[in-house]
Every structure is written in C-alpha cells, then in structure tokens.
Symmetry: none
Subunit: 414 residues, 2 copies
C-alpha cells in the first residue's frame, strides 16, 4: 500500500516551524510495512490544497493529512476534502458533546466557532480526540482512504497510536514488516566506506543499504522487509556480518547509540576514570561525556585552558614546550593529557588543542589543525587532524574525534 | 513567482531525520517576496522523483531541490532532471579541479566516484560549493527554472546565501519585499509575554507578530511587507518601539544574535575577563562562550569540577561548605564563582551546580534544581532555578540561564 503524508498549514510553508509530524508518521508507517513514499506540504489555500489532495489520491492508496481541523476560518481541511469527494458536511452530535465536555472540564468558555470542529463529511468515520477538541476523520472512498489528523503533535501522535494504527492494521493487515538497523561508523569518509562495501551496495535488494553522513559519522542503514520481524532481523543479521568484515574497525555503535554512550560503557566496564584538558573545543568534549546519565562514575572533570597561562600553571604544560612548539602542537597536546591525568589523579588524561578559526591560522598551522592526545597506563597516543568547515563544525569534529580516539585507546585495554 | 521546494532522500521518507532545509529555504524565499507554496519530499527512486519533478515544473515557476548531488549511487537528482529535460550529463572540468583541490587541502584521498559530482546537465549554470564537494546546478528551461542544491544544511545554506539569492534577485527582481525582525527574549514565559503585548497581537495586520519558543528563549518575530526594504523596515521600527515599552528588560538581542555573542560583546566592550567553574553543565557554558570567534579575548578558561575533590582542591570550595550545605547549594555555587575568579585571576567568576538527573534527586533537592552564581568587583549574585524536562533540557536551560545572569550582571556595570 502506497501512502502519502500531506502536511497542511501556512506556518509550515513560511518556514516558521519545523515539520515533526511528517517524520513521526513516516517512521510509524514504515514500521508497519506501509510504503510512505511521498510527503507534501501545502498552505491553508483552498485551490492548492484541493489540487494537492487530488494528486495524492491518484498516486497513493492511503492519504494521511495533518492540520487544519481547528475552529478558525483558516481550518479548511475537511471542507476541501468533502468537496473533492462530493460529500456534504454535517454536524456530528457526539463530537459536539465531546467538545462541550472538554471545555467544561478545563473551565473554559466554548465559542460558537468551536462547533466547526464537529462538522463531518457524510459517511466518515469520526475519531475521538483524547488530547484536544478537534476529532480525526477517516473517509473510505472507493479504493482510496483519506485520513485527517489534527496538527498539534501531542494530539496527532496520541490519535495515531490509539486509533489509526489499530484501524490500519485491522483493515489492511499483513503488509509485512520493515525493520531498519543502523551501523554507526567514525573515522572513515563516505566515499572510501562506499568503495569498501561497493559489491554489497551494487547487489542490494533486500535488505537495502543506505549511507548517511552525520557530523563526522557515517551511518550504514540496513532495511529489510519480510513477513515477520524475526525473518527481517535474520536478513539484516546476515548482511551485517558480511559488511562488518570490511568495516569492522570503524563501527562504534548501533542505532541510537552515541559515541559518548559507547565510551562511557567502556570506561565503566573497565572501572577507569578520565579527565580532560581542552583548549579549542572549549569544554565541548567534557559536556558531551556528561550528556550520559551517571557519567560522574567515570568523569573526574576537566580544565578548559583557553589562556596559555592556565595551560602552564594549572594543567602543567612546560613553558618551554609552549615556547618551542607552540600551543597547537603534538608536544603541547601530549603534556596536556599527561598533566591533567596527574593533576586530577585520573586513570586516563585527554588533551585537545587546535585552531578553530576563523582567525589564528597560518600557512604552517592552518585553521582546522587539531592535535588530540590520550595518556594512560598503556602509554600515549597523539593524532594530528585537519578539519574543514566553519568554527562550529571544526569544534564538533574535534570533540567527536577525541571521543573516538579514547574509544580506540580503550579497545586496546582488555 | 510560484516556487516549489522538493526535498529528496530516503532518510527523510523513513522519518529518520527531520527536514530543516525546507523551512530554511521557505523562510528565505518568503523574505525575498517569492511565494513558496508547495513543499514535497521524495526518496531516491528514479520513477517517483521524475514524477515529482514533473508535477513541480508544471505548477511552479521555480523548483528548488535539495539532496542527491553526492558521490554515491543513490545520488540521482541530476540524472533524473537531465533525463526529464532531455539533456545529457557531461564532465565539468572546473568542478573536477575544485573537487581535487578540496581533497588535497584536506589531505584526503579522492576516489573515482567523487567524479560523479562533477557530471553536469548540458547548458546548466554550475554553482561552486565553498563548503563541500558537490556543486549546485541552475537549469533555465524555457519559462521554468530548476535549481539543485546539496543536502547538507551547512553547504545548502552557504550556497543559497552567496549564489542563489543574488541570482534570484538579479533575474526576477522586484517581488515586493518581506522583511522580518526577531526580538529575542530570555527569562519570561511565552504566555506571560503574550499577555504583556496582547493589544498589539490582537490589532496586528502589517507587520504581523509571531511568538516562537526556542530552548528557553521566546522570540517575537515582526514581519512587514512593503514595496521597498526601507518602507518595510520603517513599519517594523514603529511596532518594535511600542513592543519594547512592555518587554524591554527581557530583550537580549535581535535576529541571529545569540546570548553568547551578546555576552561576549559586553565583556569585550568593558575589557573584562571571565572564568567558570561548572558542575552539572559539564563544560557546556564554557563551550557555548567559545562558539564565538575571538572569545579568547575575554575567556580565561574553566574547571569542570564533576568530582567534589576537584571542587575543593582546585576550585577552592571549603570542604565544610560541601559537608554542611551539599554540593548543590547556594553556598557552594558562591564559593565556586569566587574560587575560580581568584584561581584564574579573572575579573568575573561563574559557578554552576545542580542536579541534571535522571538520578540524584531527593525531596529536598529535586532533579532540575540548579544554583547559578556570578562573582566580580560589583559583588555576588546567586540565583536558584528549578528546571523541568530531560537531562539534556535541564543542562541547556542551566547553560543559557548562566549566560543570561552574566548578561544582567554586566548591565549593572556601566
């Protein structure tokens, strides 16, 4: 079954708000095995909305709309679809009572225009709104089905979960199951990764393979369709095993697992503590580590040593090192990692120093040059990185690379 | 001129990422006076993409697409539009050189599939990508114009601002002008703010007024339409002056000005330096201050004192204070601010301590309780805050509130 998601509302067209309903519905529908392959957004304009609904009903079996069911004159979704399908709008008594009760419960005054929300296309299935006043609507029209949902995300999501999802499952039943799994990689570029697994990409059918770049990470998404969840998971497991043979060293986690979660688990498992000395990242690596609940178990703290005086006086970098090699150097990064490790009595110390730009670069040391160091009982690793982009992108890449370096350091410790 | 925005990418259809490109383009186009009245999303499927492009070219004068210009086999945007418009794809030598230079600068290896990005429809205007490798494309085809932009937001936005916007203005000129101005407020809730300016909201016509909540900030956006930019700006200036009479103390900046930029400018203007002692925010406030280029002029650094040992040994909180009042207390926040100020020899010290959760709360000190302190020559301010929401929301609110407290502290210094 082909599904089109139509989002209505001039505020979406003006770019004043980001559309979160469409991705929510898309995710849910795909999980159910429906092919939600078109998404359209249109404003509160009768002619254009009618044309969008009409194209959608032609190319999709099921059209799901959001928005435009409210009490104002701008709420025209039901009127447009009723006219398009040649149906009248009639006052739906149970909805009137529901709306009245809603207002009474909240000690609010109901105005006459609230009754607009109780006008329903003839022959429609009316869906109660347990989170607001505007009911949902399902219209079965020949081979096609059109479903109108309210725009506020809390109302839409509650109605979808509790009424639309059971309706779709009962009526259309076994669409099969679509399952996705994401392998998250770090430290390899998109095109090199694609080269490595090209044979699988060219031969892909079911599961399919998609590559996605996400602030320095490349995600490999495997999507399988099968009759049951078990069968879909088995298809994914088989392909995943083959892919891992080619990219194993870069895979740090799966699905929603973040680098900071993975690093946190590895530290916790080994009962190790960590401290950081950050310069160009300004505390961003520490802040990311503390995004994980319970990170106080392994994070002692950090010093953000923006001023060179702090690097020497508090972190313990030798003044001669700064003089001879500069603040952005392998040597300074190393002494930052060693210094903070000693100073904070941590098992592992991390040093980050670089040039985030836009100023401060030179031919020898350009903007984007970053040194990362990890020091611990297993010795020291230092890496030189060259990042591109804006200041914020360079900072983010440096933060993520530092966490990945720590991850790789930990892997060497059994 | 009617514009349709077409977002391509299966990851959008699957709902794995939220589409931010479409609202960005919509906002920009509307400001320019174009009517961006359709938005469509389609996956990386040749047949469906061709049909979506074809419908868009029928109902719109200008079609702007995002995504699908990358090096992989799934990147088919140019192929689909070339075929639809009956054009060939040819290797574009300047783009090859640009891509080669990009890889060389970053010490990366270029693979053959990167050349896909340099294949261009015949007769197209090729737009250089200064933030990545995939060039943009403008095809003027009879009465219609189709513009292909890369998918990564940083690349798309830079290309739109610097190349597409001048192109559209030169070619299509006077569409009338729509200008928006945003007054950014902090420290006041949306409904209280709305009450304060209710008379203006009810009477709005041109300019219109919209309120938007953005991670603790409430933005008041004024949008005026007029024949010239000057006329639109005059309309906004008049309304802005009236609004400010009611909300002046909460307005910290305008348009894209962030709290950290405003605070940075205020510090710079007064030639003051700052240092931070952060606990529950994990370095997030320092990281935010360092997002501003040139922040090293006023930021000395910080200590993230996650472990209480660091609070006493390095920041200088008295062990008795921790024992008597606890790590999350007005007294500890104060001593953190004073301690870091002395330790780092900064003009102003900031202390942040709280419970970000989800664990660690109690009846007396619940999750979300945060103490913020600022210490300087003008004395000390401490504030107690109660934030709600998830761990990440509490951290973000604490970071923003600390910056706003610093801003208010600085305002008292002439």
């Amino acid at each position: 079954m082909i599904v089109e998601i139509v989002s209505t509302g001039t505020e979406l067209l003006l770019g004043q708000i980001v559309n979160t309903n469409a991705p929510y519905l898309a995710r849910k529908l795909n999980e159910l095995g429906f092919d939600a392959v078109y998404q359209t957004t249109v404003g509160d304009n009768r002619r254009r909305m009618a044309s969008v609904f009409s194209i959608a009903l032609e190319r999709a079996d099921i059209v799901i709309t959001s928005g435009g069911l409210g009490p104002t004159q701008g709420d025209i979704t039901k009127e447009v679809s009723a006219e398009l399908l040649g149906r009248d709008l009639q006052l739906h008594e149970p909805s009137v009572e529901h709306i009245q009760a809603f207002f009474k419960r909240r000690h609010l005054t109901m105005t006459n225009n609230n009754l607009r929300q109780a006008m329903m296309p003839t022959g429609a299935i009316v869906v109660t709104n347990h989170r607001g006043t505007a009911p949902g609507v399902i219209i079965e029209h020949g081979e096609k089905t059109i479903i109108h949902l309210p725009g506020p995300p809390a109302e839409l999501e509650h109605m979808f979960e509790n009424s639309i999802l059971p309706y779709l499952t009962n009526r259309f039943g076994g669409q099969g199951v679509i399952i996705s799994k994401v392998l998250r990689t770090f430290g390899i570029g998109e095109s090199i990764l694609e080269e490595r697994i090209r044979q699988f990409i060219l031969a892909q059918k079911n599961p399919t393979i998609a590559l996605l770049a996400r602030s320095g990470e490349i995600h490999v998404r495997l999507t399988a369709k099968a009759d049951s969840e078990d069968a879909a998971r088995a298809l994914i497991a088989e392909l995943e095993a083959s892919l891992r043979e080619h990219i194993e060293e870069y895979v740090f986690g799966m699905d929603e697992q973040s680098l900071e979660q993975v690093v946190g688990e590895e530290l916790r498992r080994r009962e190790l503590t960590v401290a950081l000395a950050e310069s160009c990242t300004g505390g961003g690596a520490t802040a990311k580590l503390t995004d994980v609940p319970g990170s106080s178990a392994y994070l002692i703290g950090s010093i953000v040593c923006y001023d060179n005086r702090i690097k020497t006086e508090l972190v313990g970098v030798a003044p001669e090192t700064l003089q001879k090699h500069g603040a952005v150097s392998q040597e300074t990064a190393t002494e930052m990692a060693q210094g903070i490790r000693g100073r904070f009595a941590a098992d592992i110390g991390i040093g980050i120093t670089g040039i985030a730009g836009p100023d401060g670069g030179s031919d020898e040391k350009p903007v984007g040059l970053v040194y990362l160091a990890v020091a611990g009982q297993q010795g020291i690793i230092v890496e030189e990185e060259h990042f591109s982009g804006q200041r914020s992108a360079i900072k983010t890449r440096a933060v993520n690379s530092a966490l990945d370096l720590l991850r790789r350091y930990l892997q060497k410790i059994k």
